[in-house]
């Protein structure tokens, strides 16, 4: 059987990749995809721990996190569309109407 730690390490790597993507990417949708990667890394971590601890509690979390991510995606994509109508782009560097 594959040891739990492997899943946890994979989760940590995926989470870090997501954070890196958010910080380096400039396209709004790609940033959002990176955030989804982070959230799914969290799901993997929960599942791995749930197996390790033999408890269903972590699995409940995964269901709710998926639902929450779906709700966020629905609202987020609508925001991208609203922005695209004004700017013809969803590059976050172009979203600079407001300054310090």
């Amino acid at each position: 059987m594959i040891p739990t730690s492997w899943f946890l390490i994979l989760g940590a790597i995926l989470f870090s990749l997501g954070v890196l993507g958010v910080l380096t990417r400039r396209n709004g949708i790609t940033i959002f995809m990176s955030i989804e990667l982070m959230v799914n890394a969290v799901n993997l971590t929960f599942i791995a721990y749930a197996r390790e601890l033999g408890s269903l509690h972590g699995l409940m979390w995964v269901f709710f996190i998926m639902a929450v991510a779906a709700a966020e995606a629905a609202v987020g994509l609508a925001i991208f569309i609203a922005l695209y109508r004004h700017r013809e782009t969803i590059d976050v560097d172009e979203a600079n109407l407001m300054h310090w």
Partner: protein, 493 residues
Amino acid sequence: MNLNPLLEPDWLKAIRPETILVVGGLLLILLEAFFRDTLRRLLAPLAAVILAATAWVVVGMYPWVSDAPRVFFGGTYQISVATIVFDLTFILATLLVIMLSRDYLQRENIDCGEYYALLLWGTFGMMMMAKGLELLVVVLGLETLSVCIFVLVGFHRRIPISNEASLKYFLMGAFATGFVLYGIALFYGATGSTSIPQLLVYFSQNQSAGPLLTIAFILIMAGLGFKLALAPFHGWAPDVYQGAPTPVAAWLSTAPKAATLVVLLRLFAATSPVAEQTKWMSIAAILAVLSMILGNFVAIAQRDLKRMLAYSGIAHVGYMMLAVRTVREDAVAAIALYAVTYVLMNIGAFGVISLLQKNQNDPQTLDDVAGMGFKYPFAGIALTVFMLSLAGIPGTAGFMSKFFVFKVVIDAGDIGLALIGIFTSIVSVYYYLRVVYFLYMKEGDELTPVPVRGAFATGALALAIVGVFVVGLWPMPVFDLFPLAANAIFLGH
């Protein structure tokens, strides 16, 4: 965890306020859809009535829980004196914002039922956060609130800065949620539970936490710090407040912060037996100090009123964080008092700004209020009162709540931190009084926007002014509830 569906006999009664809010929101949307022309003018009053009904039900729960907190849904949902106080704070914030919104939305031609529904559902999310004893419930409440805020910030969808603010808040908010969730996952892995009472039991037995839990704690602090706009996670706040419709900025700068602070209080109380707690609390202290210094000093450089209030909000969260991190029982009362005060004065200040009739894509600057004090006495007096209260001038609520927050910090022995707080709040007097200076001492030119007065907005401002003085001169009722409230948050330990 106990998976038996043990529904307590009176669980329906326990979630009555939440039910009213959710069903009321749905009702508003349906009314808007079917009777758009006839009922449009009644949407805001109806939303206010729904909130009043919720407040009535919440108050009615007091005798039920005045002896001891009650928990529902397998120990995941707590009704207590503390949650009643915070529920009423959220309801007050939403009520004031709805009253301010009506005239604003009609003027900007974006008056829709969904706006009020989203405010009600957001209030529901905050109630879940404050009542959740299980981190899953807290996260679901936080997300309900966040999704409502994403939409509300972008509600002025025809103007570009509103879209942009919404994009920024969405990306930042979703990013922060990722951190909170990963932190909770690590907590789950280390302790086998995400329930706050069970965490407390676990930590009482295993007091050394280890590096994994420290990382988890930092991740949760970073994520919630984003939501609170604590420095250095505050980057979104000025842009979002500037771009959001002004009443929405008023709402989002006050009530959600109070809800998040309740969550932090519960979490810190649960982890208090941990040996590393001192180290963790010094991380919280660093964030608080950074927020107070950065918020107050950068606010001086702002001419845009909404951005100035954003930086001042960062500083105010810093003060509250000082009290939260002491993990003392009297911090609960101090935070409750500060939350009510901040709701009254900050929503009031944003409310006056929302009266200014000008293109919402342009910034509302200090020059826009120049000379307003004599020409429009009510708006002038209102803004003066809120600025004095934000500055913490004695006699106003702002003074009282700062006094009690710093008293908690000093009683906890953190004299240095309290001094930094007091010093930075003296700095803040400069930029608050500058607004008053512009109101009365400067001559406005022809282009100065006219504050528009509607019955609802005037009522909201009057209510906030009265509230500022009532809390400022007579704060004791909150403190009478304090031992019970503290008991509920700290689970009697």
